[in-house]
Amino acid sequence: MEATIERASAAASPPKLVVDGVSKRFRVRRDEIRALDCASLRVAEGECVCLVGPSGCGKSTLLNLIAGLDVPDSGSVSVDGKRVTGPGIDRMMMFQESALFPWLDVLGNVLFGLSFKADLTAAERRDVARHHLALVGLERFERANVHELSGGMKQRVALARALAPNPRILLMDEPFAALDAMTREQLYADLQRIWAERRKTVVFVTHNVREAACLGDRVVLFSPRPGRIRAEFAIDLDRPRDINTVELASHASIVTRALKGLLGSGPGEAVE
């Protein structure tokens, strides 16, 4: 096992994304919740890192901090060496609910993200949007309304919307959690195909260990209360990966065992 799954080492090339000792607390009435406690993470250009952990472990908080939607209490997030101070179109985010705008049709939704690309003409924006709808296989649905789409189609549109402005980093917050298994598997295949073509840096949050093992070059394990990064696992399987293979299952089972150990053990205990 040590041969296939090892503690991931820092990437040789300068990292695309650096999370350095980030902490975040939230006040809920009188209580203070340490959502994230001194988390550090390095993600290389083109790498896909999956953040896994039980709910309340701070993985979505970390994603929001990387997106610039929230500000850390201490520590810093930087992309290409530049500190993140707010949202930017170099980092696009996908949410669990598609967050598509119901007052726009499918094409309008994809165009929304492009409206901040000042260097494109209206016709060029339209072409870029259509190209990305074709990329997710929805070119025939550009005039459809959001409520007419299935859950999987909505997430495809959300993916097209996130990809269209050509961000370098894609942040995905449990984007497939609400979908049925069949649709999810189809999307794993599509996602891996698109990544192979576009080479984005991806941070993917999930509570599904198999999903993480299927999509991630690296799986980062979080534990809750306070939210901490506890372990990392490199997944060095060939792509495209099929979530139903035995190798993938054996990788996933190691992460699952570590996760169960974390939940059983008290805070502060080392987990390997």
Partner: protein, 252 residues
């Protein structure tokens, strides 16, 4: 087509029933005009243009006042939703004034503006404004925060988020408020025209008032039908396209 025919049939039956009841002379003929008399009045007043002119005057007042109420109400509603101070002050006043029957504005408008178009305009604005303010405020508060967050990650900021995301997301609520505001505007204008005689324009309300003074029941009934039809037409022309859009886009 079948729906149109059956509806027309029902209306025809209602008119026949009306005529029959009138012929039975259960009520004094002076108080119960026959549909034939009402039709004759409508034809006659259409020919001498008195009804058309009055309708034009009234509709112009309605649309002007309503447009002003809408133009002011939506931004005020946005301010209330955005700033707590506005919510605590303007929002509270709006909530109170919305429940105020709009005819209550008539004495105040008369004292402030006299028997002028300004008084009419003021009454219509006051009638429609508050429900539009409240609906916009309420609609914005019901917008799922995820829309604004998603827009922010795509580079939307400040005013852009308000105009391009929050306002359209609140549209179903805003349209409901617009419809309510329109109904209130229409009612307050009729109340104003019936109570206030002004020399700059003779509206449907005035016509109705004089119909009563002259004990012309055929005119009173005919004018009421015209008022009803105008309300119906405005609803179909102003709001049906919007509601069709909402239905198509939101699937509600």
């Amino acid at each position: 087509m079948k729906r149109v025919l059956s509806a027309l049939g029902a209306f025809a039956a209602a008119v026949v029933l009306w005529e029959t009841l009138v012929r039975l002379e259960i009520w004094p003929p002076m108080l119960a005009p026959s549909p034939v008399d009402v039709g004759a009045y409508l034809l006659e007043s259409a020919r001498d243009r008195s009804l058309l002119d009055a309708a034009a005057v009234t509709v112009k007042r309605l649309l002007l006042g309503y447009a002003a109420g809408l133009g002011a109400g939506v931004p005020i509603g946005l301010l209330c939703a955005r700033f707590r101070f506005f919510e605590d002050t303007v929002g509270l006043v709006a909530l109170g004034l919305q429940t105020l029957p709009s005819v209550c504005w008539v004495p105040l408008a008369l004292l402030w503006f006299g028997q002028t178009e300004a008084a009419m305009f003021f009454i219509v604005v006051m009638g429609s404004l508050w429900s539009i303010v409240l609906a916009t405020d309420n609609g914005v508060r019901h917008v799922p925060p995820i829309y604004a967050r998603a827009a922010r990650t795509m580079g939307s900021r400040g005013m852009h988020t308000w105009i391009k995301v929050v306002l359209p997301a609140a549209l179903p609520f805003v349209v409901t408020g617009m419809k309510q505001g329109f109904a209130f505007a229409w009612r307050s204008l009729m109340a104003a025209e019936i109570y206030v005689t002004i020399l700059t324009g003779f509206g449907l309300g005035h016509l109705l008032h004089y119909g009563r003074e002259l004990l012309a029941m055929d005119a009173v009934a005919g004018i009421m039908i015209v008022i009803l039809v105008i309300g119906l037409l405005c609803d179909k022309i102003l709001f049906s396209p919007l509601e069709r859009f909402l239905h198509r886009r939101w699937g509600t």
